[in-house]
């Protein structure tokens, strides 16, 4: 391995890209940017080569020697092949799903399916630790709030029903009162007419009585309600 010193004008950005490129952790835009920079920068090319040698050769040798030392040790400390296989398959599935462009995300019967990638994206987003805790907290808050709302609604619903029935009763009474007033006025008019008739009927009787009283002094002195 040939080690070279970097010139100070190179910033950490390209050095970081060189390191990450060795383990395939760059996005396509970052890779293009790094390749364009490596085409014109010798020291970064050497740095990239050194990083590649360290990660591909030196660290790989250390990993193999560690595996060998584990394999010679107890069986339980060795690498779980099932775990490794499942992790490899998961990663392959994730890469395949991320490589499918949205236009090709068609499903059965030729209908476009946008729900599945969306759900997968939401699930991936929820897998981030800080976000998932926040989301779980928000969900719990929403559930508690909904429960409190339902409980309060259940507590208030009998009183609300009673108030509604009272309101309906008052409304019906309000509708009935004008009709009752009409009936009362009609009966009042009828009673007045009867009173007038009775007055007309009593008028001659009263005149006759006054004449009798004026002729007979005995009747004049007696009280008007005395028995005859």
């Amino acid at each position: 391995m040939r080690h070279t010193a970097l010139s100070p004008r190179h910033n950490d950005w390209y050095e970081g890209l060189c390191a990450l490129a060795c383990i395939g952790e760059l996005s396509s835009s970052e890779l293009e940017e790094l390749q364009a920079h490596l085409a014109e920068c010798v020291s970064c090319r050497e740095l990239h080569a050194d990083f590649r040698n360290i990660s591909a050769d030196d660290l790989a040798c250390v990993a193999v020697s560690r595996d060998l030392s584990r394999a010679t040790g107890t069986e339980s400390e060795g690498m779980d092949e099932q775990l490794l296989r499942s992790r490899l398959l998961d990663r392959g599935r994730q890469q395949r799903s991320s490589e499918i462009p949205p236009t090709e995300a068609t499903a059965v019967h030729g209908k476009p399916v946008f729900l599945l990638p969306l759900l997968r994206r939401i699930f991936d987003w929820l897998r981030q630790p800080a976000l998932s805790y926040g989301t779980v907290g928000l969900l719990l808050c929403a559930i508690v709030g909904l429960g409190a709302y339902r409980l309060r609604e259940a507590q208030l619903s009998p009183a609300l029903t009673k108030l509604c029935s009272e309101g309906n009763d008052l409304k019906s009474r309000a509708w009935e009162s004008p009709a009752q007033a009409d009936r009362t006025s009609v009966s009042l008019v009828r009673i007045r007419a009867e009173r007038d008739l009775l007055r007309k009927f009593l008028e001659p009787k009263r005149g006759m009585r006054n004449c009798k009283v004026s002729r007979n002094p005995l009747i004049r002195n007696s009280p008007p309600n005395a028995p005859r």
Binding site: A19, L20, D50, F51, I54, S55, C61, A63, Q128
Partner: protein
């Protein structure tokens, strides 16, 4: 313990953990960041660790060259004395 393992032992704990997760356990950087519960600093820790390993190896190479040079000078001096 090999020279690179010595270099790994000189790294900070975060850098050593990231490099071990990626190179010895086969995780991606994202998986390593999830395991280590660090979403932002994992890339930086990996890059810094690799850079320090490179510096360590450079220093070791320089020391070896100096040792080889002194050994060569000693051999030359011995042959000169034997010739005389």
């Amino acid at each position: 313990m090999g020279p690179l393992e010595t270099g790994i032992a000189t790294l900070s704990a975060k850098q050593r953990q990231v490099i071990a997760r990626v190179h010895f356990e086969g995780h991606t950087l994202q998986e390593a960041s999830e395991k280590l519960r660090e979403t932002l600093a994992t890339r930086n820790n990996y890059y810094r660790g690799l850079k320090e390993l490179r510096t360590f190896l450079q220093a070791r190479d320089a020391v070896q060259k100096v040792r080889e040079g002194t050994a060569l000078e000693g051999n030359e001096a011995y042959s000169f004395e034997s010739e005389t």
